[in-house]
């Protein structure tokens, strides 16, 4: 028998107190998890992608269709273009009605006469696509194309679209390609449902229209355009004697984080899915509309695989990865089992005459971004040039007993710095404050805690008040929420870290894990709630704008598309709530959600193949979103990069600290070599003065860019303002336009 406590008043009170303690402890334990907003409340439901339809029956080509003398049949037509299709070879040609110019999927028979390659390489030239496949469970890659002997092609025309279904009878593979016309040119789709693998051959990659608009070796005036950094040109008229690097092939938005095998040198990752080709007065810009997350952009100048200059997109359907069986042995190369089930859509925007060039391509891309709402309203006219100032608060370092936070810019020092610049005439000062978390980069959780060494929450709140008073136009706090340092027990990584393809928690080479994007965006919103309470009016995202990766977690697997969707989604969600969002190196899909792009790519990767770097990306986005290059105090070549920022329409930016950055030695912060306010104050003011006359063009589209001599470039804006930059003399001029 249980002997109950005597029912005295005192014991009752004790019991009650015990119950209250237990319940409140449980609440405290559970509450932090409940506080995160759900994905639904953010308007970011993760749904299965809606796939494009593919016809399984083949209705054939219309019998009464017109034929031309080469044997092409007219299959589609709109106000601007005609689509011709050759029933025997399935090659296509798009004709522009206004000019009569034709863009062909493959070189003409006549042009192939001088071709020296044979076999597969020759038949590739005549194919509308080529693909790699492997036998189930093997890693050996084999190549096939649409000139295959065991191939049946069916056509079907419906709803302004023609579908060619390719059945590779011996391989047990079937692939459907759909063509349609729009007002800008050709749209090509590879519906995921149109791919059927009935045998043991598995599709690995597919090169779509590898020779679309390809230029023969005799073409001298033209180039291939690839999205290297701000934009790169590969000229036709160059002899290439360097043994390596004769072709360009790079993954869009970078290699897959979770299953990267090889190492490579540092380079600018592709941040927008566009490539193009200019041949005389004909050109095209190909924009990958769907399926760009797992695709490579390839460009082959003449002499690499044929005598033709060509560019194309290669879609990846299965990835190769390193399976680590043991901690002690090297990974084994394997191929992903499941096919990536995503539709692939490419828009070929055809350009002729004057717009046949990289300027025209950039304009075509800008039009595309506006049509798809990835760019929205133009910026308001600016009276003053903004100054983007990033202040680095500090970071933690490991000591004998845990960590200690090293402050280099406290909140009151930050206030002083801003004040000094405003007094010096910075009328549009935008401040991003970074390095404010209590444990710096050693913070092993996602709690929103402000370092007390900087002044704590109250100090931050005071700072935002002070900023408002002195007229700082935007005050953002940095949020990373992508890669994180693990806690000592590793519990956080196991609970919230993304999984590699082999199912284990992914750790980077630096020993960090990557926070699950679902958790990341929910946390970001919760952080915003906390920030807004402190009077902050924006967020700067360090990695969310530029990283896409898969999460192979079985509970909720995420594709690269999902990650991009979530990150872009939280940007848009915040922006719609009036938050000032900035992000580093924003990739194309996240453009719509940012007010400012930090560290936008301004230089090439120095590929041997790249002959010229052009401001393609600046031309596409200028006037709709502001952007800056590397901070002024972080430039490798100070003068050249300053001029480049002017040429490319960037706004001045600096990353400063109040104290000397060497105090951050032994913290995870690195690469800040010189940032002390006292050292840089004058130079920032000088740069503000230099940029001041560019304020009137800030809200305008960039309509032209050209090189007028070896070191002199001219950028033209919509109102006719011309900015001429001379790298030889280190000067620039602004002329013309409505203001000057």
């Amino acid at each position: 028998m249980v002997k109950w406590l005597p029912h005295t008043n005192r014991s009752r009170w004790l019991l009650l107190a015990a119950v209250v303690v237990v319940v409140s402890a449980m609440l405290l334990f559970l509450l932090p998890q409940k506080r995160l907003p759900s994905l639904d409340s953010l308007g970011l439901e993760l749904a299965k992608p809606v796939l494009l339809p593919a016809w399984t029956e083949g209705g054939g080509l219309p019998k009464q269709a017109r034929s031309d003398q080469e044997g092409y049949r007219l299959v589609l037509e709109n106000q601007q273009f005609r689509l011709w299709l050759h029933p025997k070879t399935s090659q296509i040609a798009v004709e522009e009605l206004a000019t009569g110019l034709r863009w062909r999927s493959n070189p003409r028979e006549a042009d192939l006469a001088g071709e020296t390659v044979k076999g597969l390489l020759l038949t590739n030239l005549k194919s509308t696509f080529t693909f790699e496949y492997s036998k189930d469970g093997k890693t050996q890659r084999e190549i096939a194309n649409t000139m295959n002997k065991n191939l049946e092609v069916d056509y079907h025309v419906e709803e302004g679209m023609v579908q060619a279904t390719y059945r590779f009878t011996k391989l047990g593979l079937s692939i459907a390609i759909q063509y349609a016309l729009n007002e800008h040119g050709l749209v090509v789709r590879i519906p995921s449902d149109g791919i059927v693998e009935s045998g043991d051959r598995k599709l690995l990659t597919l090169n779509l229209l590898p020779y679309f608009g390809a230029a023969p070796v005799t073409s001298k005036e033209g180039y291939l355009f690839v999205p290297d950094g701000p934009g790169g040109l590969i000229y036709f008229n160059k002899e290439r004697t360097v043994t390596e690097g004769k072709r360009y092939s790079q993954p869009i938005y970078g290699f897959e984080t979770a299953n990267r095998i090889t190492s490579e040198s540092q380079r600018e990752l592709i941040s927008y899915p566009v490539f193009g080709l200019k041949d005389g007065e004909q050109a095209y810009a190909a924009i990958i509309d769907k399926g760009e997350m797992t695709a490579n952009i390839k460009a082959m100048p003449s002499g690499e695989v044929s005598t033709f200059h060509s560019a194309n997109v290669e879609f990846i359907y299965r990835q190769e990865y390193g399976q680590r069986m043991s901690r002690l042995s090297a990974p084994v190369s394997m191929i992903q089992k499941e096919r990536i089930e995503r539709d692939r859509v490419v828009e070929y925007r055809l350009l002729s005459g004057k717009s046949a060039g990289y300027v025209g391509m950039a304009q075509a891309y800008r039009t595309y971004l506006l049509e798809t709402q990835q760019l929205r309203e133009p910026l308001a006219p600016a009276k003053n040039m903004p100054l983007e100032l990033t202040l680095l608060g500090g970071n933690a370092r490991k000591t004998a007993f845990g960590t200690s936070f090293i402050p280099v810019t406290t909140f009151s020092q930050a206030s002083d710095i801003a004040k000094r610049f405003i007094e010096a005439g910075a009328a549009d000062l935008r401040v991003t404050y970074s390095g404010w978390q209590a444990k710096g980069d050693y913070q092993a959780d996602t709690a929103f805690t402000v370092a007390s060494e900087l002044g704590g929450s109250s100090g931050l709140s005071k700072l935002s008040e002070a900023f408002k008073e002195m007229g700082v136009t935007a005050f953002r706090l940095e949020a990373d929420l992508v890669s994180m340092i693990n806690s000592r027990t590793g519990a956080l990584a196991r609970a919230e870290g993304i999984r590699s393809i082999d199912g284990t928690v992914y750790y980077s080479n630096m020993g960090e894990f990557v926070l699950n994007p679902v958790k990341g965006v929910r946390q970001a919103d919760a952080w915003w709630t906390a920030m807004s309470r402190l009077g902050v009016d924006g967020i700067y995202f360090d990695q969310m704008g530029r990283r896409v990766f898969r999460d192979y977690n079985n509970d909720q697997p995420l594709e690269r598309e999902d990650t991009a969707y979530l990150y872009a989604g939280i940007f848009n969600h915040l922006k719609s709530e009036g938050v000032n969002v900035s992000a580093r190196r924003t990739n194309a899909y996240a453009l719509s959600g940012v007010d400012h792009i930090v560290n936008m790519p301004m230089s090439s990767s120095h590929d041997f193949i790249m002959d010229e770097t052009v401001p393609f990306l600046p031309m596409a986005v200028h006037g709709y979103v502001t952007y800056s290059g590397p901070p002024g105090n972080m430039r490798d070549l100070f003068e050249e990069e300053l001029l480049k920022a002017i040429e490319y329409g960037a706004i001045p930016s600096f990353l400063l600290t109040y104290e000397a950055p060497r105090l951050l030695k032994n913290t995870p912060t690195w690469g800040v070599y010189s940032s002390e306010f006292a050292v840089w104050e004058k130079r920032v003011q000088e740069e503000m003065a230099m940029f001041a006359q560019l304020a009137p063009v800030l809200n305008q589209e960039m309509i032209d860019h050209r090189r007028i001599s070896k070191d002199v470039y001219v950028t033209t804006y919509a109102d006719g303002t011309e900015v001429e930059v001379d790298y030889a003399s280190g000067t620039f001029k602004v002329r013309g336009g409505s203001v000057h």
């Binding site: 004697t241 390596e244 040198s265 960090e512 590397p630 950055p661 690195w670």
Partner: protein
């Protein structure tokens, strides 16, 4: 070490890459290129005016911590030279470069069997050795030009040295000379690959596959002996073999050969530089006329496969590493300064090398690197930052601290993390007799040597000013101390203490007694049970003293950031041997008929540390007022303390277990062996445990994957 997210720089941290073994396999692409009219190229050089994101890292050598630390680029890719002109096609496997005083560059274009002469812009001036006749070259791998503009070519394919006049006309050749000093012609092949010629016309030839050293030949073509040969590396195993194996057995062993000299260069003063690969030391040697290596300093860092070496006009050394593709700049004394560059198996980018072969530095400090796989010469130009750094270092090494000061100040305004610059400024201020300022800079730089010399002056000045006070304070202080102790003793004796405190007191005074009377002291301790409180206090005190001496020793003796000293490690290396000693000593003595019980071993082992406990704080305090030259006082003090402690342990073993002297010595030795065995056992168990753990993990993953 975690250096993680906050790369404010353009690129990601890739320090992990250096640790990764590089993939050597090279997937050759299908090449169907028809190179028509390759030489009809308009521009010889391709200029890239604006570069921002470098395809490689630049690091500087942090000499305090012996680490390479990222800095902004000191060299950037400027232009590359393909060698194509109307005089001939592009380079094919260029393997050697030579630069004259007037900045003309001679290229040994091996694949095209010619020598190409370039001006400082990279324009082809002339081509040598292509005409049929005696002067026709065959795959030359080395070239040298003497002050009278005669061109010496290591004509590798023809096994000779070919000499051309300033106008490029063939003059003469040198083939393998006849000499009794040379090995047999069946064993030694004269295949010259690199050459330099000294002021007297003596040729120093690198002969392929020759371990004997550099082949020296006078102007008449007479062999005058080998020069600058490497030594055969002798391992411990080799030594054992030579001691134990018979003569017959030794003959069957594969002969150990010294590594061959790979490359050779000569500076303006006539010193000859040789490079040798796969050595940990002596990768680069600076040989004087008699073949003595004048390059002191530590073994070169970043230099496993040095393929070439060059000097600039200031005497700085530039080495080129084949494995990493890195160019490393050393001071004339061989101290590493900067390193930059990268190498990849698939090279796409200008600035990243593939098979670097040769390096030169021209009069404006541009670095030219030939790459035999890419078939080009890449030219790297110093940035403003790089120029400042190199100037600062130059003046600093010359001892011209007044001239170096503005450069160091400029350098710090561009990068304030470089301790090199603070040391330099320290030197400058020290020279200006601003010792306090110098001290501050040396402290930032963690430079013990400079700090010590500045401190010496400060101390001297201080003593000069305050000598009387110091002496007075010392005398009075000592008197007060002695008097205080006497008073304290009297007070303690005069009072009646509670029994517990009295016990503690006597236990503590037993420790003091032990310090000077070890035998008697340990005898008295033998049957005594020391209270736990006092033992704990002694342990804590000893560990505390150890920590204080590690973290609190004078700057000169430990010029490192104290917060970065690992606490776990500091405690571990101190406590673990102590504990294992107690266990091992007890275990051995029980087997060997020792009398000591465990608690006796434990308590006396704690008491044995008394000298450490007493003297180390004193030494640590003294270390703050010593300079580097007086280091011996501190070091000797520490050594005496440790000998004292060891002696205490010896006495302790002898007394506690009632051993004889020799018995004690034997037992101590066995105890030490036992300690090592315990550690070995623990290590092996941990390793096996990890393997077992990994095995199950692997099994699980395979089942999951294939099941």
């Amino acid at each position: 070490m975690v250096r993680a997210r906050h790369s404010w720089n353009q690129h990601e941290d890739r320090s992990w890459l250096q640790k990764m073994s590089r993939q050597r396999s090279r997937r050759w692409l299908i090449r169907l290129t028809v190179m028509l009219c390759m030489w009809i190229v308009a521009g010889v050089t391709v200029s890239t005016p604006v570069l921002a994101m470098m395809p490689y890292d630049t690091e500087y050598y942090e000499y305090n911590s012996s680490e390479w630390i990222y800095v902004q680029p000191i060299y950037v890719p400027h232009t590359y030279i393909t060698g194509a002109s109307d005089l001939g096609p592009a380079f094919s496997g260029p393997s050697d470069l030579y630069i004259t005083r007037d900045d003309r560059v001679f290229v040994a274009d091996t694949g095209n069997s010619r020598i190409v002469v370039l001006d400082r812009q990279g324009t082809v001036l002339s081509v040598i050795g292509t005409e049929d006749g005696p002067g026709k070259l065959k795959e030359p791998e080395g070239v040298f030009v003497d002050p009278s503009d005669q061109i010496y070519v290591a004509d590798t394919g023809n096994s000779r040295i070919a000499v051309f006049g300033a106008d490029g006309a063939y003059l003469r050749e040198y083939v393998r000379p006849e000499s009794p000093l040379l090995p047999d012609s069946k064993e030694y092949f004269f295949v010259p690959s690199k050459i330099v010629v000294d002021a007297r016309g003596v040729m120093y030839v690198v002969v392929k596959g020759s371990y004997q050293g550099i082949f020296r030949m006078d102007a008449e073509g007479e062999f005058t002996g080998f020069f600058g040969a490497n030594k055969t590396p002798l391992t411990v195993l080799d030594r054992l073999k030579s001691t134990w194996l018979t003569k017959e057995q030794l003959e069957k062993e594969v002969a150990k050969r010294p590594p061959e000299v790979r490359n050779i260069a000569m500076d303006s003063e006539g010193f000859i530089y040789t490079t040798t690969q796969e050595q940990y030391a002596g990768q680069v040697k600076r040989l004087n006329a008699s073949g003595v290596n004048m390059l002191g300093g530590p073994p070169l860092a970043n230099a496993w496969l040095v393929t070439d070496v060059a000097t600039d006009r200031n005497g700085m050394l530039y080495t080129l590493d084949f494995d990493t593709g890195k160019t490393t700049i050393y001071s004339a004394m061989g101290m590493p300064l900067f390193t930059f560059g990268d190498r990849q198996s698939t090279t796409l980018q200008f600035g990243v090398l593939s098979q670097p072969t040769s390096i030169i530095v021209n009069s404006s400090s541009d670095v030219w690197i030939a790459d035999s796989h890419l078939n080009l010469i890449e030219v790297f130009r110093p940035t403003a930052f790089g120029q400042t750094a190199l100037q600062a270092v130059k003046h600093d090494l010359d001892g011209n601290y007044t001239a170096s000061k503005p450069y160091w100040q400029e350098l710090i305004s561009q990068n304030d993390n470089m301790s090199m610059a603070y040391r330099g400024l320290g030197h400058s201020l020290n020279r200006e007799e601003d010792y306090k300022g110098a001290l501050d800079y040396y402290r930032i730089a963690y430079d013990a040597k400079g700090f010590s010399s500045a401190y010496w002056n400060i101390r001297l000045l201080w003593i000069q000013h305050n000598f009387v006070y110091v002496l007075g304070t010392l005398v009075i202080g000592l008197w007060l101390l002695l008097r205080g102790i006497r008073l304290l003793k009297r007070w303690i004796a005069s009072r009646e203490w509670p029994p517990r405190l009295a016990r503690y007191g006597s236990e503590i005074s037993a420790a003091w007694y032990l310090l000077f009377h070890p035998y008697e002291g340990f005898y008295r301790l033998k049957d005594r049970k020391i209270s736990f409180a006092v033992l704990a206090m002694f342990v804590i005190l000893t560990v505390g003293v150890h920590l204080a001496s590690t973290y609190g020793v004078g700057f000169v003796f430990k010029p490192v950031d104290r917060s970065q000293i690992s606490l776990v490690w500091t405690l571990g290396v101190f406590i673990i041997p102590w504990i294992t000693w107690v266990i091992a000593n007890y275990l051995i003595s029980t087997i060997k008929d020792g009398e000591g019980r465990f608690h006796e071993v434990l308590q006396t082992s704690i008491y044995a540390m008394v000298p450490y406990m007493v003297w180390m704080p004193l030494l640590t305090a003294i270390s703050h007022i010593l300079v580097l030259e007086e280091r011996v006082i501190y070091d000797a003090g520490v050594q005496i303390v440790w000998y004292w402690v060891i002696l205490m342990f010896f006495v302790m073993t002898q007394v506690i277990h009632n051993f004889e002297f020799m018995e004690t010595a034997r037992n101590m030795m066995i105890s030490i062996v036992t300690i090592l065995l315990i550690w070995l056992f623990v290590t092996i168990m941990a390793g096996l445990g990890y393997n077992l753990f990994d095995f199950f993990g692997q099994l699980f993953r395979e089942v999951k994957l294939y099941g």
